[in-house]
Symmetry: C2
Subunit: 478 residues, 2 copies
């Protein structure tokens, strides 16, 4: 399977520059369709060291809404993983319906490494392969779209890349990660891979070998294959496919625009801190792109620095509907290594969450030391939506300001960095954006009747937001 792979395939830079934006737009639209159809997607990246697994994941997640995917690295199993059956670490990290999970290495590793390290005889190999096939069948029978990429490079290219990594002060540490096999013989590892791939390439979960020798071709090919697999999955389920950027999201609630929602929102009776936000600030597009680029680079370096120094980062996004939380998070994470951060979209609590303290689910989601968690909405829901909609009693939401300050102080005193944003727009700007969302087909999924309903309570939300900011903006977490 791998020996037949043509590693000389390339793609000229101009073709790459032209085709990638088209593929990205297509994948972005497909993500919405997959979400609407409730299909879980598992993408596995496998291959030996320096084959470009990290670059691949970066390429694939770039166009995605970060609220819809997670990246799992399974190089070093946690203590909890080691104390459970082998597949526990994969089962517990599977996506919910409509979401994507990208695995950086996966459930074939026991086979692959067992053979490389000669811990597994032929009988053992067959048993391990059977277990892999069973796991994959469980997933695909349940409707999971399972896509397995094997990245292959030549012996010469691998040698060159490993030398580059050893020379790079930001990358060098990767060579000393557990599961790193920089010393293996190329021929032997090719044999091991061929054997394992042959045993686990099935109709429901075939391997897709990728010629990863040339970067442009590699990225293009990956993206194209992921798109093709997703389109096939949608077609098999007889779901309408997105055409161009005209996604219809069949399961989305039809939005309607009640007339009273257009009534101008009266200004606040007292001048609040939100009134002092200068909404006329602008940045010219050229300048924006230049600054965005250099800031994203800087963030990427800082992400790695935080990882090495084991500093956790918690970011909280709150703000008006259509204020741009999603787009902001997208740009923030675009150049980050997706193995280092997670975006956590917060919706209404489920039954288990409701049976606990409201902070319980946020405690469970705090990032591990060295990782970044970005909350798209957060525990502040207690003093915003729960207050305004009467979901919390007055005693409960009044008490919450102090509870939140204490919760946050515990984090910052443990060495976490906590950053909180309120994205502010005027009611007029919100109306403009709502109407645009209704007009533009590929934005239509972003607007629902609930948004209009919330808008009609602008004044109540404004009062809650002002009080929230006044009472929870502290020196350590402003």
């Amino acid at each position: 399977m791998l020996e037949l792979l043509d590693l000389t395939q390339t793609l000229p830079r101009s073709d790459y520059a032209e085709s990638m934006p088209v593929l990205r737009a297509e994948l972005r639209d497909l993500q919405q369709a997959i979400l609407a159809a409730g299909i879980p997607v598992v993408v596995l990246l496998e291959g030996w060291d320096a084959a470009g697994k990290g670059d691949s994941i970066g390429t694939l997640v770039y166009p995605l809404d970060p609220r819809g995917f997670r990246v799992c690295t399974t190089h070093a199993p946690t203590e909890d993983d080691r104390f459970h059956p082998y597949l526990f670490r994969f089962w517990t990290r599977l996506p919910a319906r409509g979401k994507f999970v990208f695995f950086d290495r996966g459930w074939h590793r026991r086979m692959l490494e067992g053979r490389l390290e000669k811990a597994l005889d032929h009988q053992g190999l067959l048993a391990a392969a059977e277990e892999v096939r069973e796991f994959e069948r469980h997933l695909t029978d349940d409707g999971v779209v399972l896509i397995k990429f094997w990245l292959q490079i030549s012996k010469k290219e691998q040698k060159r890349r490993l030398e580059d990594i050893a020379d790079d002060r930001y990358e060098r540490w990767r060579l000393h990660q557990p599961g790193s096999h920089k010393d293996l013989s190329y021929r032997r590892s090719l044999e091991v891979a061929e054997e394992a791939l042959a045993l686990t390439s099935t109709a429901n979960a075939p391997w897709m070998p990728i010629a990863a020798e040339h970067r442009y071709f590699h990225r293009f090919d990956l993206l194209q294959k992921l798109i093709a697999a997703l389109r096939r999955a949608m077609a098999e389920r007889h779901r309408p496919l997105p055409t161009g950027s005209e996604v219809e999201t069949p399961s989305a609630e039809p939005s309607h625009l009640p007339n009273e929602a257009r009534i101008p929102i009266p200004p606040s009776s007292r001048a609040t801190l939100l009134d002092r936000v200068d909404l006329t600030c602008r940045l010219d597009r050229k300048e924006y792109e230049k600054q965005l680029d250099s800031l994203q680079q800087r963030l990427q370096e800082l992400e790695l620095e935080c990882y090495h120094q084991r500093v956790s980062v918690v970011m909280v996004y709150e703000g008006w509907d259509a204020a741009g939380k999603g787009g902001n998070i997208k740009r923030l994470t675009q150049e980050l290594d997706p193995r280092g951060y997670e975006v956590i979209p917060i919706a209404a609590p489920d039954a288990t969450e409701k049976a606990h303290h409201y902070l319980w689910r946020f405690w469970r989601q705090l990032p591990k030391a060295g990782h970044i968690a970005i909350f798209d909405r957060s525990w502040y829901g207690r003093v915003l939506v729960e207050r305004v909609e009467g979901l919390a009693s007055e005693a409960e939401w009044r008490r919450a300001y102090q509870e939140i300050n204490e919760f946050e102080r515990h984090q910052t005193e443990s060495g976490s960095v906590l950053v909180k944003f309120w994205l502010h727009i005027s009611p007029e700007e919100q109306l403009r954006r709502f109407e645009e969302r209704e007009r533009v087909p590929h934005k239509r999924h972003k607007i629902t009747a609930e948004d209009w309903r919330n808008r009609s309570r602008w004044a109540a939300y404004r009062e809650a937001a002002v009080e929230m900011i006044e009472r929870t903006s502290t020196r350590s977490s402003p």
Copy 2:
């Protein structure tokens, strides 16, 4: 606070033997009332080595329905705990409403050990105490009943017990556990404890010192204090208190007995393996009690052996309503160390669980190496209730037999012991028990309209159960 504690208090054996069953019955009834009222209960056991924390937890959980409590030991934080803020390990283990969690040591440890090891100066102590008080206030404000016991023994008694432990081949390992302070000076540790207790004894979460010198008095006093605290909590919430063993469970659905439910269930048209179960087997009460005693002792030894050898045990209980799953699990666990097992009651899946593969939630609940998990109902729901009630499609439940066999084989091949029980009774016996439950007040909470409804589908459940047992009873997990 501790220096005034009278450690000479005792209780004669005869008083102990007389009063304990009464207190146990009272706590048992209170648990049902707490469950019905949806009150979460957190019980903390603190004290120095050999003060009897394990014995205390054993005493308190003995009368409880094991489906309603969990025991958390926090001696050695997991890797995941260490990578998060300090309170993460406690927050994530809090009980849902209506449930109990017993903590064997807790969130005061950082203070206590920081002072013993001189890592914490006075300023640091005050900050740590403030954090403890905040955490406790968050819980009690949310309606948690928080009960903190400090177990105290004399210097002489501690010395004697530590020597006993060192001599006992089953117990000796405890002295080498992390967080064990066998070498500390009694006087210094008393000072440290006094200081910490004074700083964290608040109106909402006062410490209850227990004179743990004499075993009978200690157990009696603990049980009595827990009961008093629970009764107080119920009264404050204006909930009806159980009187004697006449618990009324106000929130339970009123059961009613449709006439057709009394119609005799026709026998199966073919003789199935369930028909071959000999339902006339009996055991005389005396003989039963003798055997139960020695088997429970044996189980206790095996639990410890499994822990040392890192063998996981998974037990699955399925069977007819009123077949006695709860009582069986109760007797199985009665003499086990509650820190080594967990009973996992399985109800209908919540929204998050429904968004995943049906096996996902069971994967997440598999026991850690060396621990025991007892499932009260299980993944077999897929081929029982989900099949009979049409909650799974025919293709889904038909496929599930193989999935279940593969899931179980993965466990047994990882070294877990898997034991599965089907508790079988005749339809006539079920009717007799249902009617008894309706008659006897303290059993009334066990019977609902749903039980009667399920009974009316006896034949469909029988068919599903027989097919399930035939298809999933394997050599490694019969």
